[in-house]
């Protein structure tokens, strides 16, 4: 049984169609990322899955429950964990008190010491929450999300506003969890986050899924064209290449091709034979970001890791 089933989901707010038509499945134990720009509908989808919002249309099943069914919502919540976009921790309790309190909400909680260990807050367990750094508070937030030993964990933009080292810390916690078989549904607008964590990515834009697949093959990036770049000294002639190259000032070559093996063979054979220095040779596949830009037609905003860019 899949952990999550979503079929033709739709939701609008006050005439604004936030989610048009979204269909996907998440297998048990899988890490699934919804990747998309701000306003694409990611959070709306995840809030419907959590049972926080009602859908207008479509079928949704989460761990076998309909999240809109009030009669089973408590059972569902006992098996799911949630980490919200915003840091949501009380300032005055100690780290251990906050975790112990929330552990009591669940029928089979994870031992608090184990959670402390997992999120790296063992040394801080008796400190007040307000004395923690932002990154530490976020790790407590993650800890509160997993203290009920959830079968399914929702992470809504878990590292927005983090510095790079805090992000890596958060990723490690998520990886440690998924090693234990927890299913994870996360939203993000960071390419590298989707690439680092997810088994499968769905790109959502304007309320629709525009592509879906493993991060390595999304949008045909594993079979699509390759970009080869290099520079040649001015004295060298033109290499005999099987495809057209774009040459700019200073002898910089850029070749976009799906015949990269042939091009490289021709180039390197020629360079060895003629004893030409090929400088700065790089071979690049499409990055996830290229694919994303192509699919959504716009750059991921709030892409700066400081998270300071707020759309007003």
């Amino acid at each position: 049984m899949p952990a999550v089933v979503v079929e033709h989901l739709a939701k609008s707010y006050e005439g604004n169609q936030a989610v048009e038509d979204v269909t996907f499945e998440v297998a048990e134990g899988e890490v699934f990322a919804l990747l998309g720009p701000n306003g694409a509908g990611k959070t709306t989808v995840i809030e419907i899955l959590e049972g926080f919002r009602r859908r207008d249309r479509g079928r949704v099943e989460v761990l076998g429950y309909d999240p809109a069914n009030q009669g089973t919502s408590r059972e569902l919540r006992e098996h799911m964990g949630v980490v919200l976009q915003e840091l949501a921790v009380e300032p005055f309790l100690s780290v251990r008190q906050a975790l112990t309190r929330n552990a009591g909400y669940y029928p089979n909680p994870r031992p608090v010491d184990e959670v402390l260990e997992l999120v790296g807050l063992s040394e801080k367990s008796d400190d007040r929450v307000k004395s923690l750094s932002g990154g530490q508070q976020r790790r407590l937030d993650l800890g509160l999300g997993i203290v009920g030993s959830p079968r399914l964990l929702f992470l809504d933009e878990p590292t927005t506003g983090f510095d790079p080292s805090a992000r890596r810390g958060a990723w490690e916690v998520v990886r440690a969890l998924t090693g234990g078989g927890t299913t994870v549904v996360l939203t993000t607008h960071y390419m590298d986050e989707a690439e680092a964590l997810a088994d499968r990515v769905a790109v959502i834009d304007a309320g629709r899924i525009v592509a879906e697949g493993a991060p390595g093959s999304l949008g045909g990036r594993d079979v699509g064209e390759t970009t080869i770049r290099f520079r040649l000294p001015g004295t060298a002639g033109a290499p005999p290449l099987p495809v057209d190259a774009r040459v700019s000032g200073g002898g910089a070559f850029e070749i976009k091709t799906d015949r990269e093996v042939e091009v490289l063979a021709a180039l390197t054979n020629w360079a060895l034979r003629e004893q030409v220095d090929v400088v700065g040779l790089t071979v690049e596949r499409l990055t996830l970001e290229d694919v994303y830009l192509r699919l959504t037609g716009h750059a991921p905003d709030a892409g700066d890791p400081s998270g300071a860019a707020e759309r007003q």
Partner: protein, 288 residues
């Protein structure tokens, strides 16, 4: 997972009582560990009573028919204690929690909504009782103010008052748009109402201020506690009229709370970049 329907329901019901008791414990912990909250609520009534008692306490007031001021302030600060805990402190607390996303997080945990609401209300009630007892003891043993002459009436007033002002706290929290405004708006409104309603100085019943403030619940709480506590010629110790007005305010406030309640923040927080996240956050974003 496999729970028999009969025993399962029973176990769950027992479990829920324990769950709520635990939640009240953590609410208490949270309250007393927050120095500002504790000082403004409990500390304020105690300190003010001590200050007034040591200065003007033994003057007599014509508005009280020549009664001692201190025997006005003791019931006054009993009323204050209940209103501060159930209304002022509860409103601010709920707004802060809502805007911080704490209410949403609770909503998404298995803790039932009723258990959270009950725990929050019980917490306010406990803080009220602590203050009532402190003020009574200080009044009695510090300044010789006799214990309330109709204790049963006082208990009824405190129960109705606590329920009404808790409802007012829940309702008002839904009207406060954001966290920054939560404490200032609520406290200013609260202290202005206390002033108009005669907490700081007794109002003659015929005065314009007394007439005006009799439309609002605060004056009725002060008068009701006073009437139940201090024997007066020709005045019943059962302030039915005041109880009815407070209860009516409570019912209206509860209806507002039920209608406008939101578990989600009404405003996107400014610290981190946010976008359309739902009904409230998008439409009511602060413009700056």
């Amino acid at each position: 997972m496999t729970r028999g329907p009969a025993t399962g329901g029973h176990t769950r019901a027992m479990g829920d009582v324990v769950l709520m008791a635990r939640q009240v414990y953590y609410e208490q912990l949270n309250f007393w560990l927050n120095p500002i909250g504790a000082v403004f609520t409990v500390g304020f009534s105690v300190i003010f009573l001590l200050l007034v008692g040591s200065s003007a306490g033994h003057q007599r007031s014509s508005a009280l028919g020549g009664g001692l001021l201190i025997s006005y302030y003791v019931p006054g600060f009993i009323a204050y204690g209940v209103m501060a805990a159930c209304f002022n402190s509860l409103t601010i607390n709920l707004v802060v929690r809502r805007e911080m996303g704490l209410l949403k997080r609770v909503r998404l945990s298995p803790l039932p909504a009723w258990a959270m609401m009950a725990a929050v209300s019980a917490n306010a009630l406990i803080i009220s009782v602590v203050q009532v007892v402190l003020v009574l003891l200080i009044g009695r043993f510090g300044y010789g103010v006799p214990f309330p002459h109709n204790l049963l009436a006082l208990v009824v007033v405190l129960v109705v008052g606590a329920a009404s002002f808790t409802a007012l706290g829940l309702g008002t929290s839904t009207l406060v748009p954001n966290q920054e405004a939560g404490a200032p708006i609520t406290s200013v409104v609260f202290f202005v109402l206390l002033f108009l309603s005669g907490l700081w100085f007794p109002l003659a019943a015929s005065s314009g201020l007394a007439k005006f403030s009799s439309y609002l619940p605060v004056r009725h709480m002060i008068v009701a506690v006073y009437d139940a506590s201090i024997a007066q010629k020709g005045v019943s110790s059962w302030p039915w009229h005041d109880l009815v007005v407070m209860a009516a305010w409570g019912v209206v406030a509860a209806a507002v709370a039920a209608r406008r309640w939101s578990w989600a923040p009404r405003q996107a927080r400014s610290g981190r970049g946010r976008r359309l996240s739902g009904t409230g956050a998008a439409g009511r974003r602060r413009s700056q």
